[in-house]
Symmetry: C2
Subunit: 208 residues, 2 copies
């Protein structure tokens, strides 16, 4: 049964909160009542932060990462290597790679992966703009950093095929193998099999 | 490791969202990115709903339920029986009882239960104002509708003792027994024992 509320303002806040993913009406009510118990400026700060974020953030015209300007700080940075483009699924993956501190190139955010079962074809993603970036020149290497899933592999292969028609660009993908810290006993057979096939010289592991 | 964000606006929204109970920084980031993918007016509606709710809602001067006016709609309603006061722990309990459609009296929201272990004494709750309401007269019955827990029982007993010094008011509590739909086999022994002791005439069950 739909719960009745004693206040239209509360009802409205609960309705809006429950539109968020993973938040049902019960949780939304709990959050709203929590905000009512706190200082008014705390609720105001939350409300303003949401509004300001949505109004102030757009997508970078070059790499489609989130940005407060037309071109994001990574694309416009002089210290980044714009000849290396790392292709990722979404904005979160950019953050994950940035947090490694190991990457100094630029990005291209696809906005998803090819998934026929979900009705997501190549045209729904930022693949045409990637091909255009490469065709325009100035890109030496495209690193495919997509998930090691069926959808990731499909998208990898599709992009590889498209880019191989664009002339002289090196297409690489993330190394796949046993994750650091994982025990052999609990590593799945496919990963283990591939890791054996793609074994690397032991001396490489202390080379860098 | 603290995740770095590509935008101060996003960082701020994630920080504010993660102040909500049960929402960590990972979930907050997921919610923020969800809002970024939706229409700007959807985020604006959520932000405004939160601000408006906190600014517009206060607590009823009489019963301490949430209200948009100084006196809540239940307390100021002419169709409610103001001589019967139902004592509840919090605002949610008012909603639960209102949703039964079985209650036509008014409320008194304590704002918690006595819990020495959490350092919550009677003075932290709206007990003095309840005693005052009863002392002022005009109340025939006080219904204790608190949880059937140790804290609820303690609070029930404390309020009962205080009210018994206030002259002629009937103090009742919610019936306790086997919940509707529960099987005897899975009912706990204390509930079952009490239900036996407090058994009611069978004819009562179809009297109303």
């Amino acid at each position: 049964m739909e719960q009745r509320f004693s206040s239209a303002l509360l009802e409205n806040a609960v309705t809006e909160l429950s539109r968020l993913p993973g938040i049902g009406r019960k949780t939304a009510l709990r959050l709203a009542l929590h905000l009512l118990r706190r200082e008014p400026r705390e609720a105001a700060a939350l409300g303003r932060a949401i509004i300001d974020m949505r109004e102030g953030i757009r997508y970078c015209r070059v790499c489609h990462n989130i940005s407060q300007d037309e071109i994001c700080p990574i694309c416009s940075s002089m210290s980044r290597d714009s000849r290396t483009v790392c292709v990722v699924e979404n904005v979160k993956d950019v953050m994950s790679i940035e947090n490694t501190g190991e990457y100094h190139g630029v990005y291209h955010v696809l906005g998803g992966l090819i998934s026929p079962i979900d009705g997501i074809g190549p045209d729904a993603l930022e693949i045409a703009s990637l091909v255009e970036r490469v065709t325009d020149g100035g890109v030496d290497e495209v690193i495919l950093a997509l998930s090691a899933t069926m959808e990731g592999d499909t998208t990898n292969f599709y992009i590889y095929r498209r880019l191989s028609q664009c002339g002289d660009v090196r297409v690489t993908q993330l190394a796949r193998g046993v994750s650091v810290g994982n025990e052999i006993e609990y590593t799945d057979e496919i990963t283990l099999g591939r890791s054996l096939l793609n074994r690397t010289p032991f001396s490489d592991s202390f080379a860098n």
